[in-house]
Symmetry: D2
Subunit: 491 residues, 4 copies
């Protein structure tokens, strides 16, 4: 693949001519992202991220454009790739490359490597390019000194790169890794090429990394596993578990974008239908509310008895996928786990049942098994496939089992991303400006910063906050300015 | 404008090459339109509409394609135009022209005159073409013998045509008609040309019309006014007031398509926002539920105290547009009345307030006033305009004040349209097969047919109906097969 | 049974010493009944009901007390009985007897014949007493000249009385009437005694009756059947079908009082439970919303396909009692029909399933069959019985299958009754002041009066109504002051 | 006050003759408390609490009776008092005293000191009696060795007792304690008498206490404050923060019991009303859902911006009490803080506004200020007072500002209490059977026990739990049997 380059700017996007449309939508999004605007106002003079080289792996959407330009306003240099092959909005990517004051001839923006509909090799190529910086002023090879991650693919690539460079060899894809076959072999190929090209690239560049901020449940789980194994190469801030991230993005963002994705994909009346939602975590809760708000009858499949009890109390039926799959018109996976919907389930589904995933990874639905099953695929339109089984019944699969809200719609709306990204930016500042405060562990943001993010967004919505008196604050043992709850409070 | 013609087939659509995509979506829609499929099964041998020449004016969407092909299967000849300049789905129009067994070279479908984004002159040209049939076998001029209307534009054109032919002159646009200026002058121009071309066209062809079936509140109101004035030229069946139409399409269809339209247009988080919904009829009820289901706080403006009391009981605030407009992030009109949102209201709206209409006509929002107001228009994308007032605040207007669910999304979903169109088809059969049973009045369908439509759709959703015993039926004074309620029952 | 009498006032209530408590609750209720207060303000000088002798059969509650005293303020003489053996609130009955300015020694109120927990013979005795007025000034036997009915028992007694007096004999309970055995034999006994005591009582007094106003679906059905058979003895106004009655009392009143009744009866957590609601008319809609609002999962049983489709669209499962009864924790009947839940259903219910009726009559649940079934009854507390089947499982039956919101709680709240009773009072005025305007038919109130009732209650809740401009009113073809909708509009 | 005594059993309840009714309701409650039944089945042979002397301070309701008898079945000796002056259900108290196999002549139950409507001195006398055990076999003075607390009053009395015994004097009520005046002076009087009677009572008995289990937010806050100050006398398990307690009892229990309390108190239609809910923690969330489920429009007052943002996202208005109090028909406090509603607020309320508290303590509403304000009190019925201000407007105060769900209704329903009490029992077992495992700190139960409680209740509701495969469990890094979430997970 060939990098595009105009002047000093290297990048790879679908079509720079979409930049005008992208810029208009970015302008609208800014109004809906009060957290980004507040951080720009607070920090754009101090520029706390001056000197930061941030490599970002996160869906390259209009909202992410506002994040990127906020990081830039705070002083950072930035490179970007998407963290999903379908999630890039090409007009946003183009606008970010051109920049706020640039022109197609003289782009002044940020190097972006992302387009909608990448192949897996292209995806990992983009991730790789986003992590390779132009050489330093002294000519030395240079990587990022900060990572901003969504799902952990940037972190994964660096850790694997270091591991294999230390081993001196990239292994063949073993039998045990069969589950990862398709995607993982792409990574191995890429790292094999890297090892042959520069056997010390990742080991040379990774020590400069001050830390990573990660915003998904899935990515955070990976980080905790690395930390527990003593293999984490740099500190991490778990942005996902800020309340204003996990309980907003995951719940209210999904409430918005699940029906949006379904509607744009298939435009089927949701009212009166039976929807089977696998998982009743925050994503599942938002998904269920979304579907119920449209008049669907929701059945929840859940392994955690506490979440299952919540589902029952919220008025949903709780059943296993096994027992409910034949009754469902819509099946949505939200678990963050794998192998939730298998081909045998699909064989038992209603004719034209709609199947989609809104959990982070694409292994909740067994797409590989479906491809092998003898079912034939009819593409209705991009990201909407009808798979016909030999008995004639069909299943409509959205976004090939990847995040349907990104593949079939535009993902989370700006306001939700404003809260999530405020946590990202604050975490970047925390890590970068206090580089010596952290071990190679996974940290969460202090509650006071979480409340700060909330406060900005409450005010943007016109909510009036109650001010505690000194007396009241003392009575419940808090400061009048907060934080107002103990660490273990569950909201 | 030039008619396209391949072989004997005259038509005018955007792009015939979209027909394959259209056909795929029509196939999916058929599964979601059990009412159409049931009527095909019941009637395709009998062909009760054999001999019918149906001119249809109704949004040319994928669902309408299924309706058209159902009418054809029942024996009818059909010509079609859209009843809204933005509502045509070009792939559906193309597929209908090509037909189920046709090819681009040899289309075997139906003459369609419709494309997305017509100008007003183009719109009325299409309506006119749809009403002009190829000459009869004996060479005589020929119009439709049946009308299928949505909003009443086909009926309007015929009535005006006859009126002016009788007068022998088409009047100039008078002062009193100022409200209708833009659109009405287009109609007058068209009829003036018609009068000069064939001064007896409408009076010659209209007597063959057995009747019209009409499915909107607005169109039905026009019909009742014509009937009350003794000016109705042919019998009419008010399909709108079938319960399975007005209480389903208007309520559940809007619940589906309002958020869909907003999401596709601006993708703004609805949760936490304040939405002002003008009107709490069936459309307003569906709109409110749609917004509340996404977490908005809804305020209702309503003139009818009964509907207002319902809104209060359903948990909404009831306020006037005057008093609530400054608090709203979203303003949606659903009244079927005119002049609901004026420019003075827009001047007082929040920055980037979103303004859209989901009532039938485009006069709920004063778009003409806005154009004259000194506000400047920035097109974000088709059907999404940001209007900037001199003080800098902007208002985002969807679909130029026309039906936003059609302009910004795909309108009602198939399942809802299946119920509405089942009523249309049954009404066409009733009128056409019993031509002598009707005066020049407006009729409603008998409740038994309404219940038949409901039964088909309940069963399609897997609902089990309870069968009354003879004893129970007698006890409540009904037949065991229904109808189950008195005529005045309100559901 | 002995009538109580103090001075000229005859009555029969449980305990006059409860009057003070009753009066306090009546005062609170007056604030919640803005319709009653508005009618008092409007009419208490004109006294349009002066000369009316109103016999009322309607649950003798605190709210009914406000109705009775409104009728008195408008000039009427009134006698009262409850229309349900369990629904009397004894403190309200006592307060009405004592009157607003009376004392226990010198009561100045209204003759009431009602107490909580009447036997069936007592119930019909009360109804009979309420219909027998003190002799006229000239000593002649006298009955009411107006009836106010709820369920139609007053109307029934008069019609049966006249029928048997004409026949000269009261028949034995025949085989065919087996269904009515218990209650109907009580009526026959009472009329047999009446016939022997005064063979012309009903034929003498009934011709003075100007008309009846009736407020239940059940009572109205009886009236339409009588009218259809040409047997209706006097005109009737169907108050039930005022929108502000049937769509408010039946829906929002039930939403309030169903959970209230269940909670007071058994105090079982409704959240997480499965509730089977038989019937999805207005009562069923309110019941379902009530239960869903508490987190239950609701299954609807319904014979009418239109209502069934609404239930599906509202997100409920639709199934038959047969197929759902084993899954339900709560079973509520709302149909207005009979034989909905039989003993075989009860045999299949879960242990400690809760069974109650909120439809008008007590024949929805087969209580007689239960008594014969071999199940044994354990009274937990008044109106809550646990019936134990031979296999050990039990079913908890509320209010012996009679209206549970009245038997286990206090019935509809004041605000709802304010709307219903406003229609009753307006209908009484219409009938009484225009005695020559009516045939022996069933009439509905004009929409303008319905809207008037709504307007009073909207304003009481702080709702702001929109005022149509003259232009807007003309555009939709209505008067600026309403009525705003065509007669057939369904709200 | 005199202790009642029959045989060896000392107690003080309202009326032993209510025991039969109490026993019937306890039997019904057992079916609704699957957690208690499961623990009895699991542990009644092992009797892990044999040797435990448990003093319990917790609302003496039917549900608590099931808890007490579960503790007894697990081997414990138990004494009991209520933790609220209004919350005792006298029939439950009577039944517990009589015991499952006892008779009025020979009661074999548990010493209970509780009745509905205690005065404050009576309340603290009961608490004191519940903490004083019959002398040990060797004649030595004896207290409990385990505490089970709800709100922390038992713990408070012991800590204050020890403090003042160490100081040798009980202080006069100082100026600084003015807030606590009424209640606190009662405690001081009681401890002054205790000091004079036995100057070493509390210091002698308290060292035997192995620990306390506490289930309210308020009580837990006190414990954390004591622990932070190093003053906690014994270990504590914070049962409140088990998910199956705080997120179920506080949320779903309140959803049930708030409308129940309001309905039984005033029976006012909630639909269409404006409700101001102060606080949007778990209790506030449940309260809001409860009111919205009945058709109220809810406004939230909240100091914590995270909770405020949740309220907005859930569709509620967020405003201060100051700005919203004049619009509200219902005002409910849920904060766990003090001085939420002052007399100045009440002065500004609507006529007949309804004011109640559902937070733990009675200092959320300034009842003392109201008494001093010049407003006059009219008791409508027990726990419902109308306070009339000099300008004539009145405010209806429920349960004198104490927990309205307990004062006006029956508190949480059995099923919810089953979850809470399962945590209590498990915590009692954990503390008592591992006495050496704990420091004088506050502990939470391990998540596995929380999930165990959830599992029992999911199964009781018929929910089917999904079983993770070994592969899936490994993939997300958990054991197949759970726990399934990290400690910080918020549900």
């Amino acid at each position: 693949m060939q990098i595009d380059r105009i002047g000093d700017l290297d990048f790879k996007v679908a079509d720079l001519s979409l930049a005008d449309f992208g810029r208009k939508e970015i302008s609208l999004a800014e109004h809906e992202m009060p957290g980004m605007m507040a951080l720009r106002r607070e920090y754009s003079e101090v520029r706390p991220l001056a000197g930061a080289r941030i490599s970002g792996s996160l869906h390259m959407t209009v909202q992410t454009a506002v994040l990127i330009e906020t990081l830039v306003d705070l002083g950072a240099d930035v490179r970007w790739a998407s963290c999903n092959i379908f999630s890039t909005q090409d007009h946003a990517a183009a606008a970010v490359v051109i920049g706020r004051n640039g022109t197609p001839e003289n782009p002044t923006g940020v190097p972006v490597f992302a387009w909608k509909g990448e192949t897996l090799p292209e995806y990992w190529w983009c991730t790789d390019r986003m992590l390779r910086w132009p050489n330093a002023a002294d000519g030395s090879v240079q990587g990022p000194n900060m990572l901003l991650d969504d799902g952990g693919d940037a972190t994964l690539l660096i850790h694997k790169g270091v591991q294999y460079e230390k081993a001196g060899v990239v292994p063949a894809l073993s039998e045990e890794d069969a589950d990862y076959t398709e995607e993982y072999s792409v990574i191995l190929d890429l790292l094999r090429a890297s090892l042959s090209d520069d056997p010390q690239y990742w080991t040379t560049t990774s020590p400069s990394i001050i830390g990573v901020t990660e915003e998904t449940t899935t990515g955070v789980n990976r980080l905790y596993q690395l930390a527990a194994a003593g293999e984490l190469l740099f500190p991490a801030i778990n942005v996902n578990d800020s309340v204003t991230k996990s309980k907003f993005d995951n719940k209210y963002g999904i409430r918005h974008s699940l029906v949006d994705g379904i509607n744009r994909a298939v435009d089927v009346l949701i009212g009166g239908k039976v929807a089977l939602v696998a998982g009743y975590g925050d994503v599942g809760k938002g998904a269920s509310e979304s579907l119920q708000g449209q008049g669907a009858r929701v059945i929840i499949a859940e392994a955690d008895p506490i979440c299952a009890l919540q589902a029952l109390m919220d008025g949903y039926e709780v059943a296993t996928v096994e027992s409910a799959v034949e009754r469902a018109d819509l099946i949505i996976t939200t678990t963050g786990n794998k192998d939730i919907i298998g081909v045998d389930h699909m064989r038992r589904m209603k004719h034209q049942a709609i199947l989609g995933n809104i959990g982070h990874f694409d292994n909740e639905i067994d797409m590989a098994g479906l491809a092998r099953s003898g079912a034939s695929r009819i593409e209705i339109k991009p990201q909407v496939d009808e798979w016909r089984f030999p008995d004639g019944h069909t299943v409509i699969v959205l976004s090939e089992g990847r995040l349907l809200n990104l593949g079939n719609a535009t993902g989370h709306p700006s306001f939700v991303m404003s809260a999530s990204f405020s946590n990202q930016v604050i975490a970047q500042i925390e890590l970068f400006t206090k580089p010596d405060s952290w071990d190679k562990e996974v940290y969460r943001l202090p509650k006071s910063l979480d409340e700060k993010v909330a406060r900005i967004h409450v005010e943007a919505l016109g909510g009036e906050l109650t001010q505690l008196t000194k007396d009241q604050a003392e009575y419940i043992g808090v400061d009048v300015e907060g934080p107002f709850k103990p660490e273990h409070y569950r909201y």
